[in-house]
Amino acid sequence: MSEHRVTLTVNGNEMSGTAEARLTLVDFLRDVLGLTGTHIGCEHGVCGACSVIMDGKPVRACLTFAVIADGAAITTVEGLEGADGEMSPLQDAFCETHALQCGYCTPGMLIAAHALLAENPDPSSAQIRDAIGGNLCRCTGYVQIVEAIALAAEKLRGA
């Protein structure tokens, strides 16, 4: 299996490592770069637990090869906090409405929501549901997640 040098800008920091051609981006982030905040749920692109933002768009890191991401800017859940280590308004809103239980789908949910709010600062409930429609959660029934994203949007608009 051929090996390749892969360099990414992850959460603003340049990071690189070696990847077999078949290594997925999520395995590269977790196993090579040690960023375990991004999770693996299905490895066939349905559950969304592995969502990261690649060059501004949310992608399934389980369906993306690391070599294809070479040179890309990646945002993972570890990159959502402010520079001061404070939670972002979105993360804070997830805590405020208890938009999670086990926390396993949460990084992917946050990424999907982060991408939504970057494009649409005032989403309707239906738009929020649509934006997280590709992210499965088994604990919450989604209601408190929708509430959190609406709350974060409100806070961000007010800020």
């Binding site: 077999e20 078949r22 290594l23 977790r30 196993d31 040690g34 960023l35 375990t36 905040g37 991004t38 999770h39 693996i40 749920g41 299905c42 490895e43 066939h44 349905v46 559950c47 637990a49 993972t76 859940v77 570890e78 959502l80 906090e81 939670m87 993360q91 997830f94 805590c95 405020e96 409405t97 208890h98 999670l100 239980q101 086990c102 926390g103 396993y104 789908c105 949460t106 990084p107 946050l110 409930s125 929020i128 549901r129 649509d130 997280i132 429609g133 590709g134 992210n135 499965l136 959660c137 088994r138 604990c139 919450t140 029934g141 989604y142 209601v143 408190q144 997640i145 929708v146």
Partner: protein, 800 residues
């Protein structure tokens, strides 16, 4: 509400666990990376049943990076069979198939390599010589005398069969003005966490300890590992601080753990196994109840029910484990919330060539509630009353508690009529009916569902002796240890892992309430199993009751010791003292005070100021027996099974597209009473999540097998989980009837929502189909099932 007298209990407070998860700092089993860790991939049987004639591992072992291939032959020679919930000595459950593979997807070999990718490559190189054998997939066919036997050594496909008759069922049926009988079916589905099972084991030959990090939720996990591996329990250390990525009953990976533990001991290096989704769904033994209900009910012309017959035939799959016991929990609420005076229950657990069932949220209660609610709906139709009115006439009344049901359990408390009234007011029942009828007038199929269901909670073990006479377990205790450090900090130890229930928040809140200290300053940690006090893990909707009860008990002991120290120093009796937020002052003289810091300092450093003979330091533990527990079942099977009974009433409004069969949930209301609520956001989240599970079970989720015994639902493209587009907003109205059996009045909520949603959704779909004269009696009511039914109706000239 019950709770207004509390400082912290019942108040809106953030869930302390959330912060680590939203910042990507959860520590899940797959996040652990020990140097030298080897990885496993499984070789699975492609046959529903086959003799394993030989396994050629040479090509696999020759692949660079491969370290070992473990076969069932090797493993079975070094371990004991895994624990069964039933007394079935001839049925041996082993982590890897030995001699015979009994379902498609069963694990035959574990390939160990330096990376998971290489292990997967090598798994494809393992050549297994199979001789296919006869198999049986349909549980009713499995009961026929000529059926192929899943376990020939056992001599039958019946794992368990028993019929209980409580009260004069025959007489009540004979006397009744009306009876009806029918069949409904709950299909094989599960709660399917997004995290698969993951485990790392590391044998330390220096300490002679096996360290285990696993995404586990299972009672007596260390003991089960020890028994299988023939190790002392104090040679196993399960790290309960691993965050578990959802479980809902399922995460019981004893097979997986025994495999990695054996390999780590053999290979002298850490070994981990993280199931991929196919391994999880086809071979991970995560399927839930799969049940046929033959129901019969006796009732009068006023719709009042007098007797119920339930025959439940459950397709357990291949191995018994704890799954057949899921027929047992419903004994605790066999007549639901209704004043039904006699009951008959025949429970049969059948073995087929499918992957084994595991415990799923509600432990068999959700299917049973679905069958009972279908019965009540049919009674309503038979006597021409509304479904709400028939329920009102049959529900146990608030002034009748404690209420003993025919199977022996006593319900602790409730106000079912009040909750039903609240949810109907919330739904605006009359206007909802108008809306339904308006939708029908527009040509859509529309229906309203109603279910009123119980959540037996407190997680007792009484179904074990009921289903296995050799098992005389009568305690299912839970513990908490609190230590106050030298500077007054409070740390509480939990003896089990958590999978999203917020146990740290629960414990900190309860202790904060008792000690009158800010819960945010109280740390709650998960002990590892070597230092943990006895626990039976978060099963059976028990932790608010049992862990909350244990934490509160330990805190009361701390408070008592603080008062004793103060009394000694004031030279006054305790009843002259006031405990106030940790400080203690003399009653009527707030100036004579010893502060928390001073009292803690005395306990830790100033033995000369301690009462004579007192234990130095400030720590206390409390281990609690399940309230009302402790007794074996009587000869007729009657037993007090669970202590506390929460109640929920669901009202959904749905519409069905007459062309496609697509169900849309237009409104959803639930009335919920779990006694005193400790954290409102947690209870709400549990309930809403349970409703989502219930909607999945009612409309989408099924593990399908074809006639060849092939599992067809190994991916999320075949096994459909509801997304945010399928699950509606839910309006929840609360009612608070405290339990008299718990210190704060709390009941369980961990299974809430799930126990009533499938029944309510099924009722709504059938309400929508009723104008066409159609009915569906099998869950899930999938789009394709509804579409096919409507197409057939249309083809036969049926009206819309």
């Amino acid at each position: 509400m019950a709770g207004t007298d509390f400082r912290f209990v019942g108040r809106k407070r953030r869930v302390r666990e959330d912060r680590r998860f939203v910042t990507g700092r959860g520590r899940f089993a797959a996040d652990l990376s020990l140097p030298g860790t080897l990885h496993i991939a499984m070789v699975s049987s492609p046959y529903a049943c086959a003799e394993i004639k030989g396994i050629d591992v040479r090509a696999a072992l020759a692949l660079p990076g491969v370290r070992a291939v473990l076969t069932g032959d090797e493993l079975s020679g070094h371990i004991n069979p895994l624990l069964s919930g039933l007394d079935l000595p001839a049925v041996k459950r082993l982590p890897l198939a030995h001699g015979r593979a009994r379902y498609a997807g069963e694990w035959v070999c574990a390939v160990v390599a330096e990376t998971r990718a290489v292990a997967e490559d090598a798994a494809e190189l393992v050549a297994v010589d199979y001789a296919p054998l006869d198999y049986v997939i349909d549980p009713e066919k499995a009961l026929r005398p000529d059926a192929p036997l899943v376990h020939p050594e056992h001599g039958s496909n019946v794992f368990f069969n028993r019929k209980w008759v409580w009260g004069d069922v025959e007489g009540d049926f004979a006397k009744a003005a009306n009876t009806l009988a029918f069949r409904v079916r709950w299909s094989r589905c599960s709660t399917v966490p997004i995290e698969t099972f993951a485990v790392t084991a590391s044998w330390d030959p220096g300490r002679e300890v096996l360290d285990v990090w696993a995404s586990i939720q299972m009672p007596k996990f260390p003991e089960q590992i020890a028994r299988a591996l023939r190790l002392p329990v104090n040679g196993i250390n399960v790290h309960f601080d691993v965050d578990v990525g959802g479980s809902y009953g399922l995460k019981r990976g004893i097979r997986q753990t025994v495999i990695v533990a054996y390999l780590s001991r053999t290979l002298r290096t850490p070994v981990r196994f993280i199931e991929d989704r196919l391994e999880n769904m086809s071979g991970g033994e995560i399927h839930g109840p799969d049940r046929i209900f033959d129901m019969a009910v006796a009732f009068d012309d006023d719709g009042v029910m007098s007797s119920l017959r339930i025959k439940a035939t459950d397709d357990c799959g291949c191995y018994p484990g704890r799954a057949p016991l899921q027929l047992g929990k419903p004994v605790s609420a066999i007549v639901g919330p209704y004043r039904i005076g006699s009951a008959e229950y025949e429970a049969t657990s059948v073995s087929t060539n499918k992957t084994s069932q595991e415990a799923v949220r509600g432990f068999g209660q959700a299917p049973t509630n679905f069958a009972i609610e279908a019965t009540v709906d049919k009674v309503a139709r038979a006597v021409g009353l509304s479904r709400a009115e028939v329920r009102r006439r049959n529900l146990i009344r608030a002034d009748e508690f404690p209420w003993r049901i025919p199977s022996g359990s006593e319900y602790d408390s409730g106000d079912y009529h009040a909750v039903l009234d609240k949810v109907m007011a919330s739904a605006g029942w009359e206007s909802m009916v108008s809306r339904r009828d308006a939708l029908r007038a527009e040509g859509r199929l529309a229906g309203i569902g109603l279910s009123t269901c119980l959540e037996p909670s407190g997680g007792n073990s009484s179904f074990e002796p009921l289903f296995n006479l050799k098992n005389d377990t009568t305690t299912w205790m839970e513990s908490c240890l609190i230590k106050i450090d030298m500077l007054g900090g409070v740390t509480a130890m939990i003896g089990t892992s958590s999978s999203g229930q917020g146990h740290e928040t629960l414990v900190a809140t309860v202790i904060g309430e008792e000690l009158q200290r800010d819960p945010d300053t109280i740390r709650a940690i998960h002990s590892d199993s070597l230092s943990a006090l006895p626990s039976n893990s978060p099963v059976g909707s028990r932790m608010a009751i049992m862990l909350g009860g244990a934490a509160g008990g330990a805190a009361r002991r701390i408070k008592q010791r603080v008062l004793e120290i103060a009394a000694h120093n004031f030279q006054l009796p305790i009843d002259r003292l006031i405990y106030d937020g940790g400080d203690v002052h003399v009653d009527g003289d707030a100036g004579r005070v010893l502060t928390w810091a001073q009292l803690v300092d005395i306990a830790h450093r100033k033995y000369h100021d301690m009462p004579l003979g007192a234990e130095p330091g400030l720590q206390a533990s409390f281990t609690w027996e399940v309230p009302t527990g402790g007794a074996l079942p009587a000869a007729d099977g009657t037993v007090q099974m669970y202590p506390c009974y929460a109640f929920e009433a669901h009202v959904p409004l749905i519409a069905i597209d007459p062309e496609t069969g697509q169900v849309e949930i237009l409104a959803y209301h639930i009335g919920h009473d779990c006694g005193t609520v400790i954290n409102p956001d947690i209870v709400r989240g549990m309930t809403l999540g349970g409703i989502a599970h219930g909607i999945g079970a009612a409309l989408y989720e099924k593990f399908d097998y074809d006639e060849n015994g092939q599992h067809l639902s190994g991916s999320f493209m075949d096994y459909l989980l509801p997304t945010s587009n399928e699950i509606p907003d839910v309006t929840m109205v609360k009612h608070y009837t405290p339990s008299p059996l718990t210190p704060l009045g709390q009941k369980g909520a961990g299974e809430s929502g799930y126990l009533g949603a499938p029944a309510a959704i099924a009722g709504a779909v059938n309400d929508a189909l009723r104008p066409l004269g159609l009915e569906i009696t099998t869950l899930p009511m999938r789009v394709r099932d509804i579409e096919a039914l409507l197409a057939s109706h249309r083809a036969s000239g049926g009206k819309f």
